[in-house]
Symmetry: C2
Subunit: 458 residues, 2 copies
């Protein structure tokens, strides 16, 4: 198989012609053509190697041979739907269940995080008989229409956004930039009370709450780590209102946080969501995902009388791949690696914070780390242009990093879990160089000019 068919300029031309213009490429001024990848490294058509600090889908490393082998062997044997019995399906469900609290015992296998979150809503609607959903500000839960409705990260992009009357947006539990910060005596309670206020307001309008949904750690929302105890308090409020707690682990699950297999477990052992959704890392790139819930919720869904069938969901190939991913995480102790290397990376970034005024906050759990850039550490003015500049300069040095959050000023680290201390050294060293050069040259001047221009053009 030849890795390249067209010269790059032709690829770009065909893409413009035949791929939806809403589908953006990275580095749109000069996009990258990647033809192969291995571990935490990606290679362009000229063999140039890029260090991948952003791909939380290639969880156990790009093109991991054990995962590839499991997929290829099963494809050769059988790939069909779950209306036939197959051992891969039940074995995989059993293995996933073993990573979760006991009461989360019933699985639905689907094809993407979006399908998983949509099904989670359907489960909650059916179980509760209620309609309303509480979501966090800046949240992203997927691209199907029901999820755009509960994703402020997306619907805020719309020119003529009209928020659904059955969706309520709670404060993002952000201890750095949010309403209640590090200096607050009890931010967990304060943020949970906000959710409770929304519930009360919904009730006043005669609405009823079906679910609260949140990523266990907010990803696109800016690498936000909710204070421990927050989920427990929210769950109390939501349960009292007859609703369910949905923990979205699509971006952050499967050992990434290092200390635990699931990010919701960071909240404490006394917290168990009613529904957990999984995606991205689950198949190391293979299109698959899963919803796990309790027997009670599953039985209520069944009692609606509607069968649930998903053509590709839980097929033997997806399950073989899912099983191989679990095996590799275990065999290569990738959760342990996330803890060690993530800790190391966080410490390196903390040093950058001491050195460079632009680095306002470092927050992370395992290999899920955010570095928030600000122009002013008191006002927290987002350093959006500076973040973009760093991303582009890193790309020139063959390092892939991205910036996210509502102000696109949070450098977002979520690399394949085989990321090493040497990789961490390399990326932080480059960031250090870029910041050092910038501080002594026109960097700030430039961004101030850009800023002024954009203000003047209003």
């Amino acid at each position: 198989m030849t890795a390249e068919i067209f010269p790059k300029v032709k690829t770009i031309d065909l893409r413009k012609k035949h791929i939806g213009p809403s589908c953006k490429v990275f580095f749109s001024h000069d996009p990258i053509k990647i033809v192969r990848a291995k571990g935490q490294y990606m290679y362009d058509e000229n063999g140039v190697r890029y260090l991948d600090c952003i791909n939380n889908v290639a969880h156990v490393g790009h093109s991991h041979p054990m995962v590839v082998k499991a997929g290829a062997e099963q494809m050769e044997l059988l790939n069909t739907n779950s209306r036939f019995l197959h051992d891969n399906l039940v074995q995989y469900a059993q293995r996933l269940q073993a990573t979760l609290p006991e009461k989360l015992s019933v699985c639905y296998f689907v094809n993407s995080g979006s399908e998983a979150n949509d099904l989670a809503l359907r489960l909650a609607w059916e179980y509760t008989g209620h309609k309303d959903v509480i979501t966090l500000d800046n949240a992203y839960h997927g691209h199907v229409s029901s999820l755009i409705n509960i994703s402020p990260y997306k619907f805020h992009q719309l020119a003529n956004a009209e928020q659904s009357k059955s969706v309520h947006v709670a404060l993002s539990p952000d201890l750095y930039r949010g309403n209640y910060r590090q200096d607050h005596p009890d931010p967990a309670t304060a943020y949970a009370d906000d959710v409770n206020n929304l519930i009360q307001k919904a009730h006043e309008k005669g609405h009823k709450v079906a679910a609260f949904i949140a990523e266990s750690l907010q990803s696109c929302g800016g690498q936000v780590i909710p204070p421990a105890g927050y989920f427990q308090k929210v769950a109390q409020h939501v349960h009292r209102a007859g609703g369910l707690f949905i923990a979205d682990e699509v971006q952050v699950g499967f050992g990434r946080v290092g200390t635990h297999f699931w990010a919701f477990q960071l909240q404490g052992e006394d917290f168990v969501p009613d529904i957990v959704t999984m995606g991205k890392p689950i198949g190391n790139g293979h299109p698959m995902s899963c919803v796990v819930t309790t027997r009670e919720v599953a039985e209520a869904f069944k009692n609606s009388g509607m069968e649930y069938f998903n053509t590709f969901g839980g097929n033997p190939v997806s399950c073989a791949i899912g099983l191989a991913v679990l095996d590799v995480i275990e065999k290569e102790d990738l959760q342990g690696n996330a803890l060690r290397v993530g800790g190391y990376l966080t410490r390196l970034l903390e040093q950058q914070k001491e050195k460079h005024p632009l680095v306002g906050d470092i927050r992370g759990r395992g290999l899920f780390v955010g570095a928030e850039l600000v122009r002013d550490r008191v006002k927290l003015t987002p350093a959006t242009a500076e973040a973009q500049d760093i991303i582009y300069k890193l790309k020139e040095q063959h390092i892939l990093l991205s910036a996210d959050g509502p102000h696109r000023n949070v450098l977002k680290f979520k690399p394949p879990m085989c990321f090493s201390e040497e990789d961490a050294d390399m990326v932080v060293e480059k960031i250090d160089q870029i910041l050092t050069v910038s501080e002594t040259t026109s960097f700030f001047l430039l961004s101030i000019i850009q800023n002024t221009c954009s203000v003047m053009s209003l």
Copy 2:
């Protein structure tokens, strides 16, 4: 790789424990465990061979070596998202486009028929600024919440179904059992006028129609073949109202109808939908799907300001597999085979209609064939129990067939496209035997008793 891990009884037990009870198996009294498959044949854990007459997903044949090879080789090389340039993506888009009318030139790659149809709705909503959707009675368009809303096949199953006010259900253009039949002078116009009436009623309520959506041939709805010219007339009405025409080819596309690559082309060369959705057969079982639309619709969607990103959609592995499927269809002339064998199968079934009063109607295009069973050829009383009985008896003889339609009385043939005349002979011979034995024994008596009992229990 061992094909079987657990004894069957353990598989069933684990499935009950860990898989959502809404997910049904075929032949629930005695489900089949399939461990491998090749071409149109599937094999259980004891090596027993089943003839597969129902799997329109394993389009070019189960585990086709060219498809497996393409997938395995690409998995080894690279599997990442479409934010990087990749030749597989653009080459595949180009190849798909070449099968379609020229104006359908812009692709969005997603992971399932459900994701495709949901995106089609989003495109229509955004392009038109309207909200309402017209769907056909008995239609099925997918399992995400937005599609349950437009799938009477599903929402009729709900105990407490509440039809969305922005969804309008048009008559299924069924010439056998519908409002306008073979003897009607112009059923295409009559059924299209029904759509127009719905548009007018929506307008009277101050609503506006965003889209009409229909499978090019209704599948779950009962293997319904709309009269030629119907889509053109519907499109005129819908376009006049500012809406779009969405042709759902998820079950029926990719050469299955024999004479054409796409089933909507059966309507005539003067018909071009605004959006086409593709799924099931597209990747021979690999989770992938696609939406194709016009430049105008794609640009309007982009102008909403919202980026569209699908984590797995259009990844290099999916595209490699999609390309291989197109290659095999061409190389093995599977569209031609569908035409030949489909025609042969239809003729064999027509003979059964002459022989057995239970066979009320045979309708088909290529390897998409329905045999509707009725107890009375005048009243068209659905022979639901008899259809189930035939399905179960065929299973005992190692032939997989299913019954569908609103009354579950339509035997539904949609086998892998490598289905042969010998396969057709075999299944029809078995059906003939079952019907012959039934007519001379207690079959009808039994179903009459069942029927009487169910009436008495009302």
